[in-house]
Symmetry: C2
Subunit: 127 residues, 2 copies
Amino acid sequence: MTPERFQELSREESLRLLASVAVGRIVFTHQALPAIRPVHHLVDDGQVIVRGDPGTILLSAVDTVVAYEADSVAADDSIGWSVIVTGMARRLDAASPPGRYRALEGDGYFIQIRPELVTGFHAGPRA
Amino acid sequence: MTPERFQELSREESLRLLASVAVGRIVFTHQALPAIRPVHHLVDDGQVIVRGDPGTILLSAVDTVVAYEADSVAADDSIGWSVIVTGMARRLDAASPPGRYRALEGDGYFIQIRPELVTGFHAGPRA
């Protein structure tokens, strides 16, 4: 594992990278403790949409400020990039989500995360 | 992406899986917001050890309860397993860490996470 140098990414580039992968992790608070779950996502009209399976603890995230992270890790375990979106999570009405949301695996409801803060970095080899 | 069925893992199996990979994500609070950063880790004598690069926001995690998550995502974007450790994060004295911690990439300090809660799941195909 080579030491890395981190470069900040623009909001646009960060959202583009986030949309290029299907799995990320939602970060929230559950029973006053930090909680995190890997989920599938898509980016739709600038909003992050994730699927909450029935019965999971993800309902704790609804109507709170959450973080959502996706990253790329290479075969040599180096971290290529990481994108973190922070914003309010809302539950979407199950009757109204567009058909394209069906690409998200599983049953259950959808959660929309508004990307109020978007940060990202790319790791290159140290100069 | 096939719908999945989740099976809970034991603490021992969860820690074994965590130790089998090199990258995870530490979850903490920074400026009153949920924060997450991908880092390298190792499991040493039952403790999770991660590297905090100089100047990062990871110092916000020190002396707080954090979550640490690692997972396995297959080439078809299905989530194979996920392990989440929750516990107090402590900064280790840079002068004292064992030589084996040098396997963790980069400069900076080490953070030890005590696995007070360990949860994990394995996702198999839906029956």
